[in-house]
């Protein structure tokens, strides 16, 4: 990318951040709601964690942060799907494409903005969670945040496919919710035993690897224990990006 291209990427990213913050409802729902749900769940369930000796409590201690993390990732992806379809329908993508900006720069901008959003939400969640997780200090927050960014980045590529195939801005977010919602029960996020056939389906769901990575990192596992998850997420990203680049429509 030329210096002019990098300059354009930076300008556009900064502009998109400013525009995003100017829309209070969008900002509150994207950042506020995951944190709010986390706080409410933590408040209702957290008190019982004090005497965390039972199996259920341990599961909850791991499950809640991971649940919140996956929620953030999904929220981020849905927000990307929404913005891309709105920008396409409004002809904004087309107008930007008729400039020396490389098409990929326009899309990278949105990924950067959404990843930043994820990072902000994680930081807020960690601060909010301190009250309910006194032990949070030992938790590898930085590694967990990195794992979440990697997971989000990977799932964003699924979002791009959804944004590519759905024409109208009205139907893109519901379809996104549906696709990601279907993956949730299979992802291992909930402590349920899957029948063998479902187990197979679970292996095909990208979200499963995100949940596995996030849970492991939260428990303090080293990155090396999750190379399989990371590889799977990278494969998902590569395959979905390839598909998206073939079917993506600018108008």
């Amino acid at each position: 990318m030329s210096t002019l291209g990098l300059h354009g990427l930076w300008k556009l990213t900064w502009l998109e951040i400013k525009i995003f913050v100017r829309e209070p409802m969008g900002f509150i729902s994207a950042v506020g709601i995951p944190v709010l749900i986390f706080v409410v769940l933590g408040r209702t369930l957290g008190q019982r964690l004090g005497e965390a000796t039972t199996q259920a409590a341990v599961q909850l201690r791991v499950g809640l942060p991971v649940f919140a993390a996956v929620f953030i990732a999904i929220n981020t992806v849905l927000s990307l799907v929404a913005i891309i379809s709105i920008y396409r329908e409004g002809g904004i993508l087309k107008r930007l494409r008729a400039t020396p900006l490389a098409p990929v720069t326009i899309l990278v901008t949105h990924v950067l903005v959404k990843l930043l959003l994820t990072a902000i939400t994680v930081v807020l969640m960690v601060f909010a969670g301190r009250r309910y997780y006194p032990a949070g200090a030992d938790v590898p927050v930085v590694a967990f945040a990195l794992a979440l960014l990697l997971s989000t980045w990977s799932i964003l590529s699924i979002g791009f496919i959804i944004a590519s195939v759905v024409r109208t801005a009205r139907f893109a977010p519901p379809l996104g919710s549906l696709v990601l919602g279907i993956m949730l029960p299979f992802s291992g996020l909930f402590p349920i035993d899957l029948p063998p056939s479902m187990e197979l389906a679970s292996r095909a769901m990208p979200l499963t690897y995100a949940v596995s990575l996030l849970s492991g990192i939260w428990l303090g596992n080293p990155w090396s224990a999750h190379l399989g998850d990371i590889a799977a997420l990278l494969v998902v990203f590569a395959v979905c990006t390839l598909i998206a680049s073939r079917v993506f429509r600018w108008e």
Partner: protein, 306 residues
């Protein structure tokens, strides 16, 4: 020797699925002129223009802009052209100055953004969000974005569609101003009045094919030589006197007025001389000259608004 054309389009064809959008279209745009591609909605104007801009690849045919091939030499071309797209929008909450600033950051050479906004009458709207601008202000902002890189060739696609007559006239002045600054303008419009007032040369396109192209005046002279003079007079033999004139075809009686149909440039002069020769007392005198609208009707058999 005339200068080389800025745009040279030869035999392009573009289909979408089974629909032929543009078929065997050829034309040239000369430096320093305002060239208009005119025709009804869906005629293939925008498709043709977007092929020339490099946003679409024609299935067949050749396009050269400054001697470059638009899709393969896109980067080299983009710094020399300015583009305003039909029905494009910007982010709702982007401020006017921010859009200009972003666009300015994308090109190696640019004009002064504030001065440009001033020239387009947008200085007061500098800090306004895009969504709060009126239709005319949005179009002026899009003109500003098209001019920020000081382009040699400016594309304007249906620039004044949806604007009120006053805003439209203001935009026309801005387009003439672009030409005065030595730039070439390539525009599309379905408004025949706009084409007639603004364009040095036009090409009429319908169903993806160019029917004819020339200056508006030449097109009118070629396809619609008929013209008429409407005269209100109490003189008894007026109709007979008019019928005797060489350029007159027919004279029809419309209540208190006579409509004198004829052809050629001499018609009006002959009628005036006839009035004076016979000392006719005239209470109303009006000429009706054909317009591009009539040319379109004649060539296609229907009005451009149908």
């Amino acid at each position: 020797m005339p200068a080389a054309p800025v745009v040279r389009v030869s035999g392009i064809r573009k289909t979408y699925g089974g629909t032929v959008a543009v078929d065997d279209v050829s034309f040239e745009v000369q430096p320093g002129e305002i060239f208009g591609l005119i025709g009804p909605n869906g005629a293939g104007k925008t498709t043709t223009m977007e092929c020339v801009e490099g946003l679409r690849q024609p299935d067949r045919g050749r396009i050269e802009v400054f001697g470059l091939e638009p899709t393969t030499d896109a980067t080299a071309l983009q710094t020399r052209i300015g583009v305003q797209l039909q029905e494009a929008q910007l982010q709702k909450r982007v401020k006017v100055w921010e859009a200009v600033d972003l666009w300015a950051s994308l090109y190696p050479t640019t004009v002064d953004g504030d001065r440009l906004l001033d020239r387009l009458g947008l200085s007061e709207k500098r800090d306004a969000w895009f969504m709060t601008l009126s239709g005319g202000q949005k179009q002026r902002l899009f003109i500003a974005l098209a001019l920020i890189n000081d382009p040699e060739l400016v594309f304007l696609d249906e620039l004044t569609t949806g604007l009120d007559p006053q805003a439209r006239r203001a935009i026309w002045d801005l387009v003439r101003d672009i030409r005065e600054r030595g730039k070439t303008v390539f525009l599309t419009t379905h408004l025949m009045e706009e084409a007639e007032r603004l364009c040095d040369r036009v090409a009429i396109i319908e169903h993806g094919r160019i029917i004819d192209h020339d200056t508006p005046a030449e097109l009118v002279a070629r396809h619609c030589p008929e013209r008429s003079v409407v005269v209100a007079t109490a003189h008894d033999d007026a109709a007979a006197h008019f019928r005797a004139l060489p350029s007159v075809d027919t004279v029809t009686d419309e209540d208190t007025r006579l409509r004198v149909h004829g052809r050629g440039d001499e018609l009006v002069t002959e009628v005036i001389h006839c009035l004076s020769r016979h000392r006719m007392h005239v209470t109303e005198f009006r000429t009706e000259l054909p317009t591009l609208e009539d040319v379109f009707l004649k060539l296609t058999g229907h009005s451009i608004r149908d």
